[in-house]
Amino acid sequence: MTMTVNGNTVSIPNDPRVSLLDFLREHLHLSGTKKGCNQGACGACTVLVDGQRVLSCLTLAVQCSERDITTIEGLSSDGVLHPLQQAFIEHDGFQCGYCTPGQICSAIGMLEEMRRGVPSQLTGDLCAEVVAFDRDEVRERMSGNLCRCGAHNGIVDAIEDVFREAAE
């Protein structure tokens, strides 16, 4: 059984207890994905599975057979940062940097959800086809990613900077 991680095909571990998070960090040495709580309460471990943002700490690696995983390490190529990574630096969207990979992966997954018109808690008219991109929508949709340093304003700035046009 295999999965694809950042374009590379890798074998799934034998021990089914291994979470996708620990598989990435300890087996593949992709330690950009962070472990903040290991219980689905912080979002630091967010990765994209077939383009959807999920929590890798609550996903068993063995469940990812034939899946396509993208981690923070897969967003930049040849040393060129993803525009959102660059925007996080520009807008100071982090301090310690520990929640950052999860925030960035989550935001990328969020953009796809907004394009699809997935509603949120703040959605006024559920029949509307298009999600209006505003800062409170970003806040609500990023609320699964905790940050203790308090970089929230900068994170929203960065996301707005890069995604405002793309989302609408």
Binding site: G36, A41, L81, Q95
Partner: protein, 778 residues
């Protein structure tokens, strides 16, 4: 407190007295900073520019390596088992199943752990780093609910976690002190902090209060808090012979190295602690049992060890902020001039913790008042050692004091900003010394204008939009300026014109590496890309704590000292053939990649030229700053005026901060981008303190009930509004670069600003934190 500890605290008090005496006879010019740092006046450098974080790309790529991300050959994974009683002893511990479990390399308990000295407790000695000084897995005694009782090493984390779940412990429980009211009943004593008693008396506050025309007198409560840095505590540890190498997540590399050497009977130089990136600290990332246990297990097993605490583990064995019960009684005349100020109360600590929560500290320098009594009484509970958490004392002390000021303002019918202005002191009310730089009135004025304070209706409950009641509140933020002794720095200048500056400091997100690159570049007159800052390693110079918001000052002064030494050497090397010939160190400045005469820029030689002519590839200068006598000579603090707009749902009571502004007076701001983030970060932690955060301590058994990020509510994105930050940017002539600390002040004053806004919105005065909806909708 043991006799030994008492003696030590007395000795520390004596040292302080000696320093004070020395200061009294010293002229101003003796004071470090008596001659202002030349960088304060510099206009065209890197200081003051919003330079993006130097480590930004690494962090944005997920490539910054944290403590649990070092990989070592043959490494095994650790897991811990925690006690389930608060006091007593281990009657029996059955490890057979764990030992037989797949992948297990070692099971360590008090029966087989190596003999270790107790950790040196923080503040007990210069380089002590321990959160407490209890023995670590040395006997069957249990001191708190959550104490580690066994450690497993296994080939994988999954195997270690499974094996640890197989350990069975039988306890012989003994009566434990886990109830606050019972502990208070058994007696309290006056707390002490940084070698001084937490007690101050000026005049006769009780009498003045009794005589006052206007009074308020209330009790405020704050619960326990946990730091909850996003990175759980972790360390990767290996022994190379008798050398101990620890890749740690710490805000005290040098302290940790020395302390581990004491614990393991090693030479200090045989312990090497690295901590290049720390995923948040806030006071919690010091030396706790996990590093010690992992190092002991690594020695027993002969294998490198990775220990990464679970989130629950962090709550069980890392201390947090203790709870407080504070009385603030204010007396004033009809114009709002304070005549009496009483701030007193009780806080529990563990028998072996390093501090009682010192909530009166911010009050000492707050207001001009002739009669003041400040007092912290301490009782002891059998609990995890409480510790320093962002603005220990100030965070919760300002909640009480600044709420009370708001209550008094309302009673007097005076605007709360005006009330504070009327009580602005012209010298420190307790110490009697002048303030080094205090522009809080200006911070209020500019903040109020920007925030639209004049839109506030002083009548509570007067503004409503739909279901939402809207209110505004303000409060003063304050945090002391510290510069702890022990800092050092080394500058290495190369003949290619590059400089490397080394110091054993820390980057937990404060922007240390970025700001110090800016400062060093300006001091040497180099572009940013010619300066490399190295930090986070105990083999680098100095003992620099990332605490007390003092790293920037401590490093800044150390670099200044090293720079002075470097210039002296450079002038010697330059010799008589240089345009610099004959100049003294204080006549030159670093500029354009070399040195120049302060007033005659044409007298210039660049560093590469000086070194090349002297046949030197590089020049190394070490600097050790003078003792921080300035702290005895001036009352030194950071200040802020905090403004909050809150919306409280009239039906459900849900409180949501809708707008916040912090107007700060923290000396010269070195990097507007990273400083603003520091201010915001503190404010956001203050929003949590005000509205949602509480570590629940079950008084039946001393166990923390909500050891998870699902149940301990730190603010999420939707809880955080736009937070506007502004500052006076008035440099303090008595500090390096004219700067004050910015790391902790944001959490101070915020709780009161929010509580005061809640009152303005609803007419409900909530005096016990957190201000949850159930306290508002009744």
């Amino acid at each position: 407190m043991s006799m030994f500890e008492k003696a030590r605290e007395t000795a520390q008090g004596v040292m302080q007295t000696v320093m004070k005496k020395a200061v009294e006879v010293a002229p101003d010019s003796w004071m470090p900073g008596g001659v202002p740092d030349p960088l304060i006046a510099a206009k065209h450098g890197h200081i003051g520019r919003p330079v993006s974080r130097i480590d930004g790309p690494l962090k944005a790529k997920g490539a910054a390596r944290f403590a649990a991300e070092f990989r070592l050959d043959g490494m095994v994974y650790a897991a811990l088992s925690y006690s389930t009683i608060a006091k007593g002893r281990i009657a029996d511990i059955n490890i057979a199943a764990a030992q037989a479990a797949p992948g297990v390399v070692l099971v360590m308990t008090h029966c087989n752990a190596p003999r270790l000295n107790p950790p040196p407790k923080f503040l007990s000695q210069n380089k002590a780093a321990g959160g407490d000084d209890l023995p670590v897995m040395q006997d069957e005694r249990i001191h708190w609910n959550g104490q580690p009782v066994a450690l497993v090493l296994a080939e994988t984390q999954e195997e270690a976690d499974h094996a640890i779940s197989l350990i069975e412990v039988a306890y012989a429980a003994e009566p434990a002190a886990t109830s606050l009211s019972e502990a208070i009943g058994k007696g309290t004593e006056t707390g002490s902090f940084m070698g001084e008693p937490l007690h101050n008396e000026i005049g006769n506050a009780d009498k003045a209060f009794a005589d006052a025309a206007f009074t308020v007198d209330s009790v405020y409560r704050s619960p326990r808090h946990n730091h909850n840095a996003m990175e759980p505590h972790a360390a990767t540890i290996v022994w190379e012979g008798d050398r101990l190498i620890i890749h740690d997540a710490t805000q005290a590399v040098a302290h940790t190295a020395w302390s581990m050497a004491q614990i393991f009977d090693l030479d200090e130089t045989d312990v090497h602690v690295t901590s290049p990136y720390v995923g948040g600290g806030f006071g919690g990332k010091t030396l706790w049992q996990h590093q010690i246990l992992a190092a002991a297990a690594a020695r027993l097993s002969g294998r490198p060890v990775r220990i990464a605490l679970s989130r629950e583990g962090v709550y069980r064995i890392i201390g947090g902020r203790s709870e407080t019960e504070q009385r603030v009684a204010l007396g004033s005349d009809r114009y709002g001039k304070l005549t009496a100020l009483i701030h007193s109360g009780i806080t529990p600590k563990s028998p072996n913790s390093a501090l009682p929560e010192p909530f009166i500290v911010p009050t000492r320098s707050a207001y001009a008042v002739d009669n003041m009594t400040l007092d912290v009484q301490v009782c002891t509970l059998d609990m995890m050692a409480n510790t320093f958490m962002r603005a220990p004392g100030e965070a919760v002390g300002t909640f009480a004091l600044e709420s009370a000021m708001d209550e008094l303002a309302e009673k007097l019918g005076i605007d709360p900003i005006e009330l504070r202005a009327r009580n602005e002191p012209d010298k420190d009310p307790v110490g009697g010394v002048p303030f080094s730089s205090r522009n809080i009135v200006e911070a209020y004025r500019s903040g109020a204008e920007r925030f639209g304070w004049d839109m506030r209706n002083a009548a509570p409950g007067s503004r409503r939009e739909g279901e939402w009641l809207i209110g505004m509140g303000c409060a003063t933020a304050t945090y002391p300026y510290y510069r702890m002794p022990g800092a050092a720095a080394r500058i290495t200048l190369s003949d290619n014109g590059r400089a490397t500056v080394d110091f054993a400091a820390h980057e937990m997100g404060m922007g240390t590496s970025t700001v110090q690159t800016q400062v060093t570049a300006d001091r040497l007159g180099l572009p940013l890309d010619k300066v490399t800052v190295r930090y986070g390693d105990s083999t680098l110079p100095g003992v620099i704590l990332a605490g007390g918001s003092q790293q920037t000052a401590a490093i800044g002064m150390a670099v200044m000292s090293a720079y002075n030494g470097l210039v002296g050497e450079l002038l010697k090397l330059a010799g008589n053939d240089s345009p610099l010939a004959g100049l003294k160190p204080d006549e030159v400045v670093g500029i354009n990649g070399g040195l120049a005469h302060r007033n005659k820029p044409e007298r210039f030689e660049n560093y590469a030229s000086i070194l090349t002519r002297a046949n030197r590839h590089e020049l190394v200068a070490d600097g050790t700053p003078p003792m921080p006598f300035e702290l005895q000579h001036w009352s030194m603090h950071s200040y802020g005026a905090m403004f909050c707009e809150i919306r409280v749902n009239a039906i459900t009571g849900e409180p949501r901060v809708s707008r916040f502004l912090g107007s700060f007076d923290c000396g010269k701001i070195l990097n507007p981008k990273t400083a603003a983030s520091q201010f915001r970060g503190g404010i956001i932690m203050g929003i949590g303190l005000a509205l949602t955060e509480e570590t629940q301590f079950d008084e039946r058994n001393g166990r923390i009930v909500n050891p998870s990020l699902a149940d301990y509510h730190i603010p999420v994105h939707l809880d955080v509004p736009e937070i506007e930050i502004m500052w006076t940017d008035i440099p303090d002539p008595h500090t390096p670069m004219g700067a004050h600390g910015v790391g902790e002040i944001g959490i101070t004053g915020t709780g009161a600003a929010i509580a005061n806004a809640v009152y303005n919105a609803t007419g409900k005065r909530v005096r016990d934190l957190p201000i949850t909806l159930d306290k508002l909708f009744r």
